[in-house]
């Protein structure tokens, strides 16, 4: 009996020993893995930082600009080009371009009728003709300034190096242009706003209506279950599929309606043919509808049942209860959810490419039946160009897009904080 006790004691010491020796190993692996977990989290932050730095890097920096004629040599009596009078500018223009070209411009709009700014712009474009030969990012511009200057000296002896901010107020105000220095995003911003307005107009009432039906009216029958599953599945369908759907239905099948010809509105029918703002807006509305429904459902579900009971108890009908009690209480949640869904639509590119955003358009949209381009589409097209300058303006456009999205999301957060109630 005593021997048995003895062995069990020995076993115990032994197991204590192994436990102790194991313990340090287990603790060590715990520490190592904690480091790995932290490192992974860090990667997420690093990715976000790299993304933002990369965009800012592209939006500012040195550019080597080559002039056909250096603007400084065009100065008259020491007065720089920008401050010359209209007559002097006209003379410079006449002296430096061919006669034919001068006559062509004169026949378009006689020089006597042109404003000073107009003539200055002509001189800039035709005589000075700045051409960007190379650009550098912000980081390179700061850290490798001397190298850049030397490189330019060697490769483009005539070029001047200037520090350029691609994001300017002109960039936001100008329409699109084939020359990166003049291109702006006004057309794209307006297009985006028009498209989003159509999207909200359709997705919000339909989405909230569907959510009310599913939460307040729908009984647990097969059809309603199908609707629920279906909404979840739709939320997972790739956005490009919606683009194909929009192309087939809104652009092609409903062309008469979406191009406006059915309403007698003809906005450039030769080129728009259904590839209009309303088609794009409807496509995006279908895309975010499941999100709006799911978010609104959650908001409606969060309204406590006692509120409904109280309303019924006072003799209100079902719709009176929903309209005067459930919806006002769910509204902040619904709005937050809708804004988040809308910001998703705002950044969406692929479906709009398929639906047929215009590749090059300089005219502001005038209504829902206009051709359109949007900010993300613009970014896509500029990024796809191989030239550096277009990458730079793409980066600048990304900043504009992110600022707009940030504003949208900030509104959502503010709404949530301002009106959220706890029961």
């Amino acid at each position: 009996m005593s021997s048995k006790q003895h062995t069990s004691l020995a076993e115990k010491t032994k197991s204590t020993e192994t436990f102790a020796s194991n313990l340090s190993r287990r603790r060590r692996s715990g520490r190592v893995w904690l480091l790995i977990f932290q490192a992974s989290t860090l990667i997420g932050i690093v990715a976000l930082t790299a993304l933002l730095i990369n965009i800012i890097d592209g939006s500012f920096g040195y550019a080597a600009i080559q002039y056909s004629i250096d603007p400084e040599t065009l100065a008259v009596d020491g007065v720089p080009l920008e401050e010359l009078s209209k007559e002097e500018l006209e003379r410079i223009f006449q002296d430096n371009v061919s006669k034919g070209l001068y006559r062509r411009y004169d026949s378009e709009v006689p020089f006597a009728e042109r404003s000073r700014e107009d003539v200055l712009a002509l001189v800039q474009e035709r005589v000075v003709a700045p051409e960007i030969v190379q650009t550098w990012g912000l980081i390179d511009s700061i850290t490798k300034k001397d190298e850049i200057l030397m490189d330019v000296q060697e490769e483009y002896p005539d070029a001047a190096v200037e520090f350029v901010s691609w994001l300017t107020t002109d960039f936001v105000r100008n329409p699109q242009s084939s020359e990166p220095e003049k291109a702006g995003v006004r057309t794209a911003i307006l297009g985006s706003l028009f498209v989003i307005a159509v999207t909200i107009l359709f997705a919000f009432p339909l989405g909230v209506g569907a959510a009310i039906y599913l939460e307040e009216y729908a009984t647990d029958n097969a059809f309603n279950r199908i609707i629920r599953t279906n909404i979840n599945n739709l939320a997972g369908v790739p956005s490009i599929i919606y683009g194909i759907l929009g192309l087939a239905i809104f652009v092609r099948a409903l062309e008469a309606l979406t191009s406006g010809t059915a309403f007698g509105i003809i906005d450039d029918p030769t080129t728009a043919n259904g590839r209009t703002i309303i088609s794009a807006g409807l496509t995006l509305a279908l895309l975010i509808l499941p999100l709006v429904i799911i978010n609104s459902q959650e908001a409606i579900r969060a309204v406590p049942n006692s509120l409904r009971q109280a309303s019924f108890g006072l003799g209100a009908t079902k719709w009176q209860t929903i309209w005067s009690h459930v919806l006002p209480n769910a509204l902040p949640g619904i709005l937050t959810g809708t804004i988040l869904a809308v910001s998703r639509a705002f950044g969406e590119t692929a479906p709009l490419v398929v639906v047929g955003a215009a590749t090059f358009i300089t005219v502001d949209p005038s209504g829902v039946f206009s051709k359109f381009t949007t900010l993300p589409i613009q970014i896509y097209q500029w990024t796809a160009r191989p030239q550096d300058e277009f990458r730079n303006i793409a980066a600048a456009a990304i900043i504009v897009l992110l600022i707009m999205l940030l504003t949208l999301n900030a509104t959502a957060v503010l709404l949530r904080n301002r009106y959220s109630r706890r029961y």
């Binding site: 569907a210 979840n232 398929v354």
Partner: protein, 396 residues
């Protein structure tokens, strides 16, 4: 449904009539309410219509893609004017190849090519019920192309210009990109989820979660810019010239970064839902924090995490802009991540980018690809929902 007022006052006829007017407690038909309910129902049913519409549109155009013969320009002219009765004629040297047994079309007339002798074709005129007419010299020849399902799924070439329609190169690129994306997103996503749910303090969480939300809210076209201007040069600086300017690795890694927030937030929700009692029990048995997290909490939350995986894969397969800009334009049957290749989504975007003409071979082909894409993602989504339901651990 008996009228109660009748039962209470049978004697007082006058009073009865009065009260009947005032106190009719029968449920009234409220037409307004019915209309509203119907409208709400219709809005809910629109989602069903969307699905039906999607399947109908994709299906119909895909059937057109497989069933109908599409005409491709060969840019090959006929040399001499041919009369309605002539069945042999000479064609020019330029333009594409015409094969024996092919169906060709000149103007409105279809012909079956019986044999080819150099540049001289022997044809059966007025094929497919078309009318044999005279054709002027120099008229271009169109060649008919038909795509079989078998060819669609087994051919390793996708070259619409010469009638090669095999979806495999598009699928191989999609798989490569998604695989790389998952390689990045799954470990990082899970680690972040474990860190946030098990280790991070309330303060750290309140900082990290918004950062991840911001990452999730950035439009994909911005990620595409990131892939092209930072990730690709970065890869090139590590691996050297084997990395092409457009490559699937760069696109895959960036898609991985894109879906990290999705994986981490879904997994964190799953980990968070595991009751604290399980953790306490594990600690009580002497488990370390890591052992508790990986051997107790993680297995308990596995259904949610698996669902997150599947949703992430579906997202990666459907991602478009990043691959359209960074992975390359041009189908390429390869699994080499450093080579350029075009995914299904990338191809759809490139083809539909210009003004695509309806009923052309390209137009129909994007629907066929779209249908494949739709079913892949739909099946993945359904599986993820099943997984959650089937393997969920229920706790009181």
């Amino acid at each position: 449904m008996t009228n109660r007022s009748e039962a209470i006052t049978p004697q007082h006829v006058v009073a009865n009539k009065l009260s009947e007017k005032k106190l009719n407690l029968r449920k009234r038909q409220r037409w307004g309410e019915n209309v509203i309910q119907t409208l709400l129902f219709v809005s809910a049913a629109i989602s069903i219509l969307t699905t039906i519409g999607t399947i109908y549109v994709l299906g119909k155009e895909s059937i057109n893609f497989f069933a109908s013969r599409m005409w491709e320009e060969t840019n090959k002219p006929i040399v001499f004017t041919i009369e309605a009765g002539e069945s042999t004629f000479r064609v020019g040297d330029t333009g594409g190849e015409i094969e024996e047994g092919a169906i060709i079309r000149i103007n409105q007339e279809s012909m079956l090519v019986k044999s080819i002798n150099g540049n001289v074709l022997l044809v059966e005129r007025g094929y497919d019920g078309t009318e044999a007419t005279a054709h002027e010299a120099g008229t271009g020849i169109y060649q008919g192309v038909k795509v079989s399902l078998l060819e669609f799924f087994t051919n390793t070439k996708w070259i619409p210009q010469i009638g090669e329609f095999g979806i495999l190169p598009l699928i191989s690129a999609t798989l490569t990109v998604s695989f790389i994306a998952m390689l990045v997103a799954l470990p990082i996503g899970i680690c972040i989820a474990i860190y946030l749910s098990e280790y991070a303090s309330q303060r750290a969480r309140s900082i990290l979660k918004p950062i991840l939300e911001v990452l999730a809210g950035i439009p994909t076209v911005v990620y595409a810019y990131f892939a092209l201007t930072l990730m690709t040069p970065f890869l090139q600086s590590i691996f050297g010239d084997v990395v092409q300017i457009y490559n699937t690795a760069s696109a895959g890694i960036v898609i991985g970064i894109l879906v990290v927030p999705l994986v981490s937030s879904m997994s964190e929700d799953a980990l968070h839902a595991v009751p604290d009692g399980l953790r306490q029990a594990a600690y009580g048995l002497g488990a370390t924090k890591l052992e508790t997290a990986t051997k107790v909490v993680l297995p308990a939350a596995i259904s949610g995490i698996a669902a997150a995986f599947i949703v992430a894969i579906s997202r990666a397969i459907g991602e478009t802009m990043i691959v359209a800009l960074a992975a390359g334009a041009g189908p390429n049957f390869t699994f080499n991540p450093f080579e350029s290749a075009e995914t299904m989504t990338g191809h759809i975007v490139r083809i539909s980018g210009g003004d695509i003409s309806y009923d052309s071979i390209d137009y129909n082909s994007i629907f066929a690809i779209g249908l494949v894409l739709f079913f892949i993602t739909l099946i993945l989504n359904i599986i993820s929902q099943r997984v959650v339901r089937r393997f969920r651990e229920e706790y009181e």
